[in-house]
């Protein structure tokens, strides 16, 4: 394997599109996206189910030909050098890809040999990975006896057999219990600290927040915003004030619209009971809000102030909450 000169970019995507033909119409799963992922960072793709996360990932992993657009993945051109891309990337799909009738060790050795390792080297590498992912105790049992966390760790070990510089993880923690999820986060951080670029998709806000150096929010096949979690949150507001009002929140919504104390956009009502007001400084905005509502005779039932979350970022960009869809 030759080594391309190291560049700062692990993935560079321009105008990537994918449409699917169904019986009735043409569906645009990914509607032309641009993306830059830096080396040795954890980059997250956050969005609801059906947003185009998996389709994008599968295109970048050479599994699905793009309808249009350009991409450079791990230094190689996606269209012209798919074979070289495959040598440099690891991919762990949503389904995982374990054969439940085969032992973890046998499958790791097999995977290694498909990447060109000799029988002996593949066995040695399997041993290393089994130790690193604490699977030695179950290594020779068939995968059907594994716990959910063990299966997921084996999935990832399989994706790392050839020491890829870039690892794609499609919803790596979906369906895991909190303990296994925390464990998976540690593994991902350890990979990044070792210089591996990790590109993952998730629909968990907490995961995107805790794990990703940078992230892009994708909705209906389009990237709606991109940045570090802090940048994205700061862009929405300094503070978020959540108000519970009696009656229709639409009244309060229109009263509070276009006020000077707002950051730069109107409040939103994510549900029928509350509204969220995005301001620069909560301490100074709150008295003003109370005054406005009081004068109009709107009865406030609850009020709370918080730092903006990625949920607010998503809500602001799409008008919907991610949390409800993810449930």
């Amino acid at each position: 394997m030759d080594h391309t000169p190291p560049s700062q970019t692990a993935i560079r995507v321009r105008g990537l599109r994918r449409t699917f033909r169904t019986r009735r119409a043409e569906v645009e799963a990914v509607a032309g996206i641009d993306l830059d992922v830096r080396r040795a960072e954890v980059f997250g793709f956050l969005g609801p189910n059906g947003a185009g996360k998996t389709t994008t990932l599968r295109m970048l992993a050479t599994l699905l030909p793009p309808t249009a657009g350009e991409a450079t993945v791990a230094g190689c051109d996606l269209r012209r050098q798919p074979q070289r891309v495959r040598e440099r990337i690891g991919y762990v799909g949503q389904a995982g890809g374990l054969d439940h009738g085969v032992s973890g060790r046998a499958e790791l050795v097999f995977q290694g040999r498909l990447y060109g390792l000799s029988s002996r080297a593949a066995r040695a590498r399997a041993g290393e990975l089994l130790a690193a992912f604490e699977l030695e105790g179950v290594a020779d049992r068939t995968a059907q006896t594994y716990s959910g966390g063990q299966r997921r760790r084996l999935d990832i070990a399989l994706g790392l057999v050839h020491r890829p510089e870039l690892l794609f993880l499609d919803e790596p923690t979906t369906g895991l219990d909190p303990q296994s999820r925390a464990r998976m986060w540690d593994e991902v951080r350890r990979l990044r600290d070792g210089g591996t670029t990790v590109f993952l998709t998730t629909h968990y806000l907490e995961e995107a927040d805790a794990l990703c150096n940078r992230l892009a929010i994708i909705d209906h096949g389009r990237i709606v915003c991109e940045g570090t979690p802090d940048e994205l949150k700061r862009a929405v507001a300094g503070d978020v004030i959540t108000l519970g009002v009696q009656g229709d929140p639409a009244v309060a919504l229109s009263l509070l619209s276009s006020r000077a104390f707002l950051r730069d956009h109107d409040p939103v009502a994510p549900d029928s009971q509350s509204l969220r007001v995005y301001v620069d400084r909560g301490e100074t905005a709150m008295p003003a809000i109370f005054r406005v509502l009081d004068q109009a005779g709107v009865v406030l039932e609850t009020v709370s102030m918080s730092r903006p979350s990625l949920d607010d970022v998503f809500l602001r960009q799409t008008g919907r909450r991610l949390r409800e869809e993810a449930a």
């Binding site: 599994l63 074979q83 799909g93 890809g97 498909l114 399989l158």
Partner: protein, 253 residues
């Protein structure tokens, strides 16, 4: 070279899995052995009927049984493939630099090897009942058997990749195998059938396979029957392998 190496690696992996799965082995062997023990004795008296080919009841019955085994094996290849597509195994393998052709060929070779293994067991088990084995007929019979296995595995893989669903796949395979089986002369020679049925069965490639196998088990090697069997099965096997490879190369799931 790369293709051969990878095909071997894939074959080893799948063959090893099949061998280590004892219940699977047991089930796949039980049926033909049951046929041998429960059905073949009936043939002793049928063999005396006018029109029944000569050469002894078992030398007529076992070749048919082998073709039937090949036909039923068509289910297993596609079944496993659908399960692996759904579990993401195929996707995982397609992200490796391994050639897609090798990924398919390796598992096809496993299907062929399993069928030849089962066929050998049946042949050996039938010897005490009165099956006679003569060279080179038996060897050629196994070569033809391998071609039948290649045909069935490829048809099965192509259908599986097209349908992507166990239920549809099962329904189609089962409804296709029954007429193929009845019109192949596996159970009773088509020479006993009325003319119209013989005419219909002339469109069934398996008929030629069965006729060729019977001829080979009678150690009549150089004749038109054997040639027809090899040409019919061989050409279809090649076509279906190409179809399966194309479907596998395209498979985007």
């Amino acid at each position: 070279m790369k293709l051969l190496r990878e095909t071997w690696i894939v074959f080893e992996r799948y063959f090893g899995k099949s061998l280590s799965s004892l219940p699977y082995m047991g089930v796949s062997l039980a049926q033909p052995v049951l046929y041998l023990v429960l059905f073949a004795p009936l043939l002793k008296s049928v063999a005396a009927v006018p029109g029944f080919p000569g050469g002894g009841a078992y030398n007529v019955f076992v070749p048919g049984l082998l073709v039937q085994l090949g036909l039923f094996s068509a289910t297993s290849g596609g079944w496993g493939l659908i399960a692996e597509v759904k579990a993401g195994v195929i996707e995982r393998l397609r992200v490796t630099p391994a050639s897609r052709a090798a990924l398919l060929l390796g598992r096809t070779l496993r299907d062929i090897a399993m069928l030849l293994l089962q066929a050998s067991l049946i042949v050996v088990a039938a010897v005490p009942f009165g099956l006679t084995l003569r060279l080179p007929g038996v060897l050629l019979a196994f070569v033809l058997m391998a071609l039948i296995a290649l045909l069935m595995a490829s048809v099965s893989h192509a259908a599986a990749l097209l349908l992507r669903d166990e239920n549809t796949f099962g329904a189609i395979v089962f409804s296709a195998t029954l007429p193929l089986l009845l019109l192949s002369g596996v159970l009773l020679p088509m020479s006993l059938a009325p003319v119209w049925l013989q005419d219909v069965s002339a469109f069934n490639p398996l008929l030629y396979a069965v006729d060729a196998q019977r001829s080979l088990f009678a150690n009549q090697v150089a004749n038109a029957t054997v040639l027809k069997g090899f040409v019919a099965i061989g050409s279809l096997a090649l076509l279906s392998l190409v179809a399966a490879a194309r479907a596998f190369g395209r498979a985007a799931a």
